[in-house]
């Protein structure tokens, strides 16, 4: 239903019942390998041999109730609700598991079938607490529904109901076992799809109950999907629990803001109280299927936070305060910017915007800076330090990289991942990889530390931090030998004086392991190559991409259109930020920027040196995020005029002269481009909180005061423009031949101290997470991982925390001994805004010292 004023509202009645097999369109094959024809309730149907009665009935539009059956899970046929009568069969048969037989005459609504259903319903209800008034599933419950449709009003049970103790499954999920009908969908999902069998049926017979080992909380990343799968109110959403009744909710389609997969979601909100209350998946077979991860599902309550700022703030007497009466803040900002521009030229102004904003915001942001202010100093890359404008990702576009990881993984038989701890970056892609593995695919991983795939991968090579290029150089060399393709002429120079054993040694991987990996890649059919940000964004990023592309070429993964490498991105609109041209040297569609400007690092350097006077930072806590924290702090301190627009007052905001509160993702209509380049629309669910504005409104207001005529630029209008402008204008210089790359020749000399390694962690504590109670509760404590040898040498005791110290600062955190951490390294995963780990990496530092706390 499309309402021009309110967008697409999914009517509660049209909301699909989670896991209802009929929610999906039945498959109607065009032709049959082995057709079978049967009659169901008098209608004839022809299906492929092996099709179940339930599936065949679905084609005819005949509804058969079902609990335990779910199209994505294995079939157990245990609830016995789907029983149907088959002529000449003495017993009723479960239609979910029984294949249609040739010439069968099937009755789904005969007296016998109806009666059996009534009986099963009665049996399922005798021990059910019937506490619908306080059950969150109420109003959208398959037990209520089937009781109405298939039950009787006759209950003969006169004994006390069975009750079970209530476990605590952690901050996300509430398990009310008394409501459980033991369909085992949750158990099968976690075992078969998520790959961590955390829930199981414990005990037996009438005492059977769903539980975890020793009643421990759930730890997986996908547990929330069991809430959707649970046909009754046994597994419910703890975050949503008791906050609303389902019929008060308005559901609208949106896109998850938490990572670059861009899962399709439904946002449930209640306008009366201006609250976003729940997130559920929206099935999209090309992106997330019917699933989402727990971060996406439960990571929204920051939008309802009372800490959200509701009016602009202006710095007075060193503090951010609401503007004085009658002050026009936009006017004030524009006046300041104009003054700076007049005095120092447009190059004295710079803008940084988060790659999680909509394409529309990103597009207007670069347009505002370039066309209205006249400065090319813009960038979106705030979580890595890079002196160069160009990076491995941009380079990959130039050589025509396929860059469709989500689509590629779906059909891959061999998946090779280099330089990414993917489960912590792109959870649903991880889920899809796990599903491929279940179907026999092979996973090969090369990464620099004890990544999450260590146990799952058929081959896992751990190279020294930063040694991706060395590793690839040897791997390519061996691959060419394995493939027997003849050494490419264009690479002879690259490999002059190459000593594979020495380079392998330098990157810390045994020659044999490399050989095995090369062999697995050489023999792989239907391979997909994924390259993580750690590999393509490093100092050797472009070289790495070249070598990676060469590898794809040697494996035959290229054609006239593209080369089969897929670079991974992290943020929900990283790809959009690139295509919209929020880059110092490239404009929309990767056209040459006009004017050109400075990248993040150079902007901050210039500001710190007093050359750049004003910064506009939209949607990011730069100080918490930028690896060179000291530089970010200096830049903001030194700049004459800093404007920060975001949802909360954070460290960066506190350094601002003016703070502008902006709307959250649910209050913004716009599009996002996911890691595979799919542009997806998100609807506005709630109006922006009063006192806040969308980035678009903000940019329009600013532009207007500058005298630009931007009033017509509504989100759809911007979308039209950006669609036209953002098609990559660069003709990829096709990979006509193998690309030479550079292999370092020097050996890194050992340095004092331990090497600090950072990496992503799904459940860490960044700004929005800290303001989302459920995610905050789920967040893993920040720890330093150390090898057993180093723990021994340093004489650390696990009882006390340790102090990790660098010239940039110190943090005090607990440590864990981890045999997968190489000695000489300290691994601290995740962002902890409250701890400021990035102090340690200030000034490009990567060496730390460790002492026991209290020493």
């Amino acid at each position: 239903m499309k309402d021009p004023h309110r967008g697409t509202v999914i009517h509660p009645r049209a909301r699909p019942f989670a896991g209802d097999a009929y929610a999906e369109e039945p498959k109607r094959p065009e032709s049959f390998r082995k057709p079978v024809t049967a009659t169901i309730d008098g209608q004839s149907v022809t299906v492929e041999a092996g099709t179940t009665i339930l599936q065949a009935a679905q084609i005819l539009g005949i509804y058969i109730p079902h609990y335990c059956y779910h199209p994505a899970l294995s079939i157990v046929a245990s609830c016995r609700l789907c029983l149907v009568e088959v002529e000449k069969s003495p017993k009723l048969v479960p239609s979910c598991s029984t294949p249609v037989g040739e010439g069968q005459v099937i009755f789904t609504r005969s007296d016998k079938a109806k009666r059996a259903r009534e009986q099963q319903m009665q049996l399922l209800l005798i021990n059910h607490p019937l506490d619908c008034p306080v059950c969150d599933q109420g109003g959208h419950c398959q037990l209520q529904r089937y009781s109405m449709d298939y039950g009787t009003d006759d209950s003969r049970y006169r004994f006390p109901k069975r009750t079970f103790p209530k476990p605590n499954l952690g901050p996300f999920i509430d398990l009310e076992r008394n409501r459980c009908i033991l369909c085992t969908r949750c158990v099968r999902f976690l075992e078969e799809i998520a790959g961590n069998a955390e829930l199981a049926v414990m005990k037996r017979g009438n005492d059977s109950l769903i539980g975890t080992f020793l009643e421990r909380p759930l730890h997986g990343e996908f547990s929330g999907n069991t809430i959707d799968l649970c046909p009754v109110g046994s597994l419910t959403d703890k975050v949503f629990r008791f906050r609303a009744r389902i019929w008060e909710l308005e559901a609208k389609p949106s896109v998850c803001p938490h990572c670059a997969v861009g899962c399709n979601i439904l946002l449930d909100s209640r306008r009366r109280t201006h609250e976003l209350l729940r997130i559920t998946p929206r099935t999209n077979p090309d992106v997330n299927g019917p699933w989402i991860c727990d971060k996406g599902r439960f990571g929204f309550d920051f939008v309802n936070s009372r800490l959200r700022v509701r009016s602009p703030l202006v710095k007075r007497d060193g503090e951010l305060k609401p503007p004085a009466d009658g002050m026009d803040v936009i006017e004030y900002i524009v006046a300041q910017w104009k003054a700076i521009r007049d005095r120092h030229g447009p190059g004295a102004l710079a803008g940084l915007i988060s790659p999680r904003k909509t394409n529309e915001s990103l597009y207007l942001f670069q347009r505002f800076f370039r066309k209205v202010i006249g400065s090319g100093n813009i960038d979106h890359r705030m979580d890595r330090v890079g002196l160069e404008d160009e990076d491995g990702y941009l380079y990959s576009i130039r050589i025509g990289a396929r860059n469709d990881p989500v689509g590629e993984v779906r059909k891959a038989e061999t998946i090779f991942i280099l330089g990414s701890d993917l489960p912590n970056e792109l959870p649903i892609l991880n889920l899809q990889i796990r599903q491929r593995l279940r179907h026999g695919a092979t996973l090969l991983v090369a990464h620099h530390q004890g990544g999450s795939y260590r146990d799952l991968a058929a081959r896992y090579c751990a190279y020294h931090p930063g040694a991706e290029m060395d590793f690839l150089a040897v791997l390519f060399f061996l691959l060419v030998q394995e493939k027997n393709v003849g050494f490419p002429g264009s690479l002879i120079e690259t490999y002059r004086d190459f000593n594979s054993a020495a380079v392998a040694n330098r990157c810390g991987v045994a020659m044999e392991a490399l050989q095995n990996l090369a062999r697995a890649l050489a023999n792989a059919s239907n391979a997909t190559l994924l390259l993580g940000e750690e590999a393509w964004a490093g100092a050797d990023g472009i070289q790495t991409v070249r070598a990676f592309a060469d590898m794809a070429r040697a494996m035959g993964l290229f054609n006239e259109n593209d080369v089969g490498i897929n670079l991974l991105l992290r943020h929900s609109n990283s790809r959009g930020a690139i295509e919209m041209g929020v880059l110092p040297h490239l404009g929309p569609g990767l056209s040459p920027a006009d004017p050109k400007g400075k990248n993040t690092h150079r902007i901050l350097q210039a500001a710190a040196h007093g050359e750049l006077k004003s910064l506009f930072i939209l949607g990011e806590d730069l100080i918490a995020r930028y690896p060179d924290r000291a530089l970010a702090e200096d830049a903001l301190k030194r700049a004459d005029f800093v404007v920060v627009a975001d949802t909360f007052v954070h460290d960066t905001a506190r350094a601002a002269h003016v703070f502008l509160p902006i709307a959250t993702f649910d209050e913004i209509q716009g599009s996002y481009t996911n890691v595979s380049g799919k542009i997806q629309q998100a609807e506005r669910v709630l109006v922006p909180l009063s006192g806040t504005a969308t980035p678009l409104q903000l940019l329009q207001a600013l532009a207007r005061r500058f005298g630009a005529e931007w009033d017509t630029l509504t989100p759809p209008a911007v979308f039209d423009i950006l669609r036209r402008e953002s098609h990559p204008a660069l003709p990829p210089n096709k990979m006509a031949d193998y690309l030479p790359f550079q292999i370092r020749t020097e050996n890194t000399e050992p340095v004092e101290g331990l090497c600090l390694q950072r990496g992503p962690l799904l459940f860490d504590r960044t700004g929005d997470v800290i303001r989302t109670p459920a995610l905050s509760a789920r967040s893993q404590p920040c720890t330093a991982r150390l090898s057993p040898e180093d723990v021994g040498t340093l004489g650390l005791s696990a009882e006390n925390s340790i102090v990790v110290e660098s010239p940039g600062g110190r943090v005090t955190i607990p440590f864990i001994m981890d045999k997968n951490t190489p000695s000489g390294s300290v691994v601290i995963l995740g962002e902890y805004d409250d701890l400021g780990i990035n102090r340690l990496t200030s000034r490009g530092n990567s060496r730390v010292r460790i002492i026991q706390e209290g020493e």
Binding site: S78, R80, Q119, R204
Partner: protein, 438 residues
């Protein structure tokens, strides 16, 4: 003339300990296997067994040779033989005798069956409580390995077969063949839907034959003496001998072996088990393990074979006879049975998980004097779900309890009446209603 036993399986049984390999061989042991491996093709073995008329001794009485014939010969998957040694049904204690005193007869039977279906792995799934017997079996299997009667190139032929003794954890449901296979795979022993039957999709989804211990133990003598010899024992459709464990109110309980159809139930009880205690009378008899419908005292002249017992309205089942004398309270007995099955239900499917407990609640209430006039009708309605469960455990409780209520309705009605509140005295001290209210 008093009826007597016919001993084939229990022939010359020595109760002092397990028969070792040497004495087993001296008594003709492993000759049947040798004959199979050296003279018969697997198909011929299946034919022999079909002709012998041997039927499964685990409960269902399905013709063994026919079952073997269902194994798809062209399947590229491995085939498995599984010996069901999970014997757990109340009253049934026959398999343990074979395994305890004549383990090699079971092992030889496994090898013959495995050869017939071209399996190279035979698993003996033994219930957890039989730990000593499992050790006996394991020792016997080692003896067989050492004598090249198991493992590679058995008896110097091309045929190889590994024998694995696998101990269950003591769940009755793991005796149900598909539950057994799930358990053998290392999972929770939940039965599976059938079809597909194990012969087509069994262990690890490969063709698998599951046979009872006694069934398999019949094979050595059939192969040694020929199908015709075996078929000459018993009746037209019930061939051979059968082990009959007799328990309950008899003076000489024990495991007896009888020729099928040549002896009546009454003779087994009176002549072999020496009848009930002095001054007591037989009230009813369970003829084939706790899940078979009960027979009343006037039905005991039925010849003991599959067809006759079925014609009397019950089933031969595992052949375990439980005798109840006039002291037995049928309500309590029904409750005891129901409790066993409720305890052993795997809980997977709705009718059995919910039904078994409901049944226990009702019978318990009746037994404790809290019955309700509608209770029997409720039970009857509950029993309509008999055939909607995944496996036969639910039927295994429905059948005997239904028969008990049908055969002894008065006992149930009286018990219920005892518990029905006398509404005329409602609210007065001591009336059941006021008791409930306190």
């Amino acid at each position: 003339m008093a009826a007597s036993e016919t001993r084939v399986l229990l022939k010359d049984l020595d109760l002092t300990g397990p028969r070792d390999l040497d004495s087993y061989r001296r008594m003709g042991g492993y000759q049947g296997l040798a004959k199979c491996l050296r003279q018969f093709t697997p198909d011929r073995v299946i034919d022999e067994v079909k002709q012998s008329g041997l039927r499964g001794r685990g409960g269902a009485g399905f013709p063994t040779g026919v079952k073997w014939g269902f194994v798809p010969k062209t399947s590229p998957k491995p085939k498995y033989l599984v010996c069901n040694a999970d014997e757990g049904e109340p009253g049934t204690c026959k398999d343990r005798v074979l395994m305890q005193y004549n383990p090699h007869s079971v092992i030889e039977g496994c090898l013959i069956a495995a050869y017939a279906i071209a399996a190279h792995h035979a698993f003996i799934y033994i219930r957890g409580e039989f730990s000593e017997i499992a050790e006996i079996l394991e020792r016997a299997v080692q003896e067989a390995y050492r004598a090249h009667l198991a493992g590679t190139n058995i008896l110097g032929t091309q045929y190889s077969c590994e024998i694995i003794v696998y101990r269950g954890a003591g769940a009755y449901i793991c005796g149900e063949e598909s539950g057994l296979l799930t358990s053998l795979e290392g999972k929770r022993g939940n039965p599976r839907n059938k079809p597909p039957f194990p012969a087509v999709e069994g262990l690890y989804r490969a063709p698998t034959v599951v046979n009872n211990v006694e069934t398999l133990a019949c094979l050595p003598s059939i192969m040694r003496n020929g199908a015709a010899w075996y078929a000459s024992l018993g009746t037209e459709k019930s061939k051979g001998t059968k082990l009959v464990p007799v328990s309950g109110h008899v003076r000489k309980p024990g495991v007896y072996e009888i020729e099928l159809g040549k002896i009546t139930l009454r003779e087994i009880i009176a002549d072999l088990a020496r009848g009930v205690r002095e001054g007591h009378t037989i009230k009813a008899v369970i003829p084939g393990g706790s899940s078979s419908p009960i027979l009343s005292a006037d039905q005991l002249d039925v010849p003991f074979d599959y067809e006759s017992v079925a014609a009397a309205g019950s089933m031969l089942g595992s052949g375990a006879i439980v005798v109840l004398d006039n002291t037995v309270d049928m309500v309590e007995f029904a409750l005891r049975l129901a409790k066993f099955y409720a305890h052993e239900s795997c809980g997977q499917c709705t009718p059995c998980r919910e039904g078994t407990r409901w049944l226990v609640e009702i019978l318990n209430a009746i037994h404790e004097g809290r019955g309700h006039p509608d209770d029997l009708e409720t039970i009857q309605k509950l029993f309509e779900t008999e055939l909607t469960s995944i496996c036969l455990l639910w039927s295994a409780v429905v059948m005997p309890v239904r028969a008990l209520i049908e055969k002894f309705p008065e006992e149930f009605r009286t018990a219920i009446a005892r518990g029905t509140p006398d509404f005329s005295r409602m609210g007065q001290p001591g009336s059941p209603v006021s008791v409930l209210a306190e």
